[in-house]
Amino acid sequence: MDKIRFSTKIGLGTSLIVLLAAVLLTFTFSVLGTRILVDESKKHGRVQAENLALRAVDPILSADFLQLKDLVDAVRNVGSNVVYSFVQDEAGNVLAHTFSNGFPVDLLKANILPPDQKLSIRLLNNGQILIYDFAVPVRIGQSRIGTVRLGLSRTDIQQTINELLHPVLGVSLATLIVAVFLGSLFASRITRRINDLRAHAEALVTGDLMAQAAPKPTANCWEILNCKLEECAAYGDDTRPCWHTAGTRSKMRNGTTSCSRCPVYLTNSGDEIQDLAETFDYLALTLRLHLEELYEAEKAMARQQELLRTVLDSTPDHVCLLDRQGTILALNRAYAEFLGLSPTEAVGKPEETLLPEGDPLNDRSMLEVMFRSGRIVNREVQVVRNNRRLWLHVIRVPVRGASGNITSVLRTTRDITELKSYQVQLIQSQKMESLGTMAGGVAHEINTPLGIILGYAQLLLEDLPDGNPMRDDLRIIEKQTQVCKRIVAGLLDFSRQGESEMQGMCFNNSIMEVITLIRHPFELERVYIVTDLDDRMPVINGNPEQLKQVWVNLFTNARDAMPGGGVIHVRSRLMRDDGIVQLCIADTGTGISPGDITQIFDPFFSTKGVDEGTGLGLSISFGIIESHGGSIVVDSPVPLEDYPQKPADQDDIDYGPGTLFTVRLPLDCSGDDLESL
């Protein structure tokens, strides 16, 4: 049933209704007509029978059978539907009849009139037709002298009815044809509009949101209302009725708040299908607006994603998103480059297969802990990458999905090795500052008693004659007091660096003066100095004597670290953008052990023999550089790129891991030296 076309359904429905109506009408007409005609026929038959009974009295009494015969024949001839008539006497004998082929005897018993009854009607079947048989008494007063019988053809009555039914059936058929035609016409119009709507809906589905389903308004609202509201959204829009336009400003006329009484609505509104079409148009408009908003939002989101991607890709930090199994869901360019893959190659791979075993970042258990606890984990770890020991600051943040469950973990890794080294330097500076203060105080307090010991020892030496054995003891006291004096003087030097005289000085000259002085004695010990000085070196603001003391300390330490000879590589670089000048002194000596490297600037720390140094040289150098606003750092072993080039003619020298001291001093920006150089 659902597969039958709508127009067919309407046509069929209309036809069935009309057909049913015709059948019912015909049936009703037939029943009623038959009943009326039968009743009328019965009345007619009765009247004829009674009339015959009255007229038959005299002939019966006079036994005038010919007259009786004329009477029954007259009745038979008058009514076209009278089949027969006959008269019986009191005893039931037939006195006259209309049968030409002999009287059917059975007919007498077919309708016997009881004595006290005035009429008896029976429907008889003679095998050919149906007959209403009327029996009426012939009376004189109360005496019954005979019976009149009259037969009326029931079949003729039916024929009459049938003749009446023919036009009725014809009218019904004509009505049926007209109804089917009009129904089909109506159905086709309805289905055409429904098909239009369906086509419009299909257009909407395929994305054509500009398709118009409803007809344009016959008259525009601003013309009907004669308004000039140009700011109204409906003004100038002749494609859709104003009651579907949000933001119409026209006030309802007659104070009504409903569109149903507005003249614009009354003019332009249509039937339900037009309403449906307008609703479709409104739906399309709303969809279009929502889609435009959606497209805009999509574009904005794409821009945001691009921005986020750019931000993530521009950071040197390693950023990646991991699921519970440690699979990489997303990562930034820096991390992908570190892993040696493209970002698309890395996504979907288990991270543990890409990182070296034992790497602190390769920690599945940590992921599990994070998924369970949901806490942010913030750690600093030390790793070895490309044979370099690095400090990494690792932040792991759980990422939650829409349901609030943790779906992944975002891990950011930042290389803080440099920051760590600055922290170490800062701690070292603070340590040295407090040590300096303390050393100054101690030196001051010791100086006076030391002076007294030295003075009295010298006085006693003067008093004792030559050859007295006590003189040797006193000389030892004097000698050791002199050692103490030198130590105290060193401590004082270390503590009072900021109080020295500063002046403009040439950095290169300061170094070259020292190198000129020491080059020869060093070469005697097979220690060769190679210089690579930046010839653009500007003037710095410093104390030449103190800085020379620093260079001497550094060169001496380098030489002492190369007892079998070696190379000292001296390189200076102007770093104008950073406002500093940098000096690197690298040697090929024995290097400094990791345990010692954090202590080498501490006062009295020395790896040399008892009589070979006071352990104050690097402390004093540190203090001098600090007082110049600079920094001094140490690296051991020397990084490959800074390792001195070995001389070709000195193959027998045993080269060690070496030590690199890097001194940075601020440029003197007070004058025009920078520009002149």
Binding site: T448, G451, Q458, T481, K485, L492, E499
Partner: protein
């Protein structure tokens, strides 16, 4: 032969300088109190005053300034266990003849005293 006073907050130190310089024929009076030393100078106008910078109440530079007021002819040698550029510069500006650092060697002291007195 000259008259010398030594002002040092440590008595032994003043006595030692006195012992060293007495052997060279000088008349040395050690003091530990600034007021006593200044009173002595006011009365006796010595040829030389050897002043420690760190004293009990005043500092050596202030005493130097005071000495130069009350006895401009008295020469002054500053002697300190904690030399600084400021005190050195200030001492020279106020008329000190020498600025020495403790612990001073006996020979060095004799040499500097002789040089100042002969100047």
């Amino acid at each position: 032969m000259a008259t010398i006073i030594v002002l040092d907050d440590v008595y032994d130190s003043g006595v030692l300088i006195g012992r060293i310089l007495s052997r060279k024929g000088h008349e040395v009076t050690p003091f530990t109190e600034e007021e006593e030393a200044l009173a002595h100078i006011r009365k006796n106008t010595p040829d030389l005053a050897i002043l420690d910078i760190k004293l009990k109440k005043m500092n050596g530079v202030e005493v130097l300034e005071e000495i130069k007021k009350i006895s401009p002819g008295t020469k002054v040698i500053m002697l300190t266990g904690y030399p600084t550029l400021e005190t050195a510069r200030e001492s020279i500006r106020l008329g000190a003849s020498e600025y020495c650092v403790k612990p001073i060697d006996k020979a060095e002291l004799e040499e500097k005293v002789a040089a100042v007195l002969n100047d």
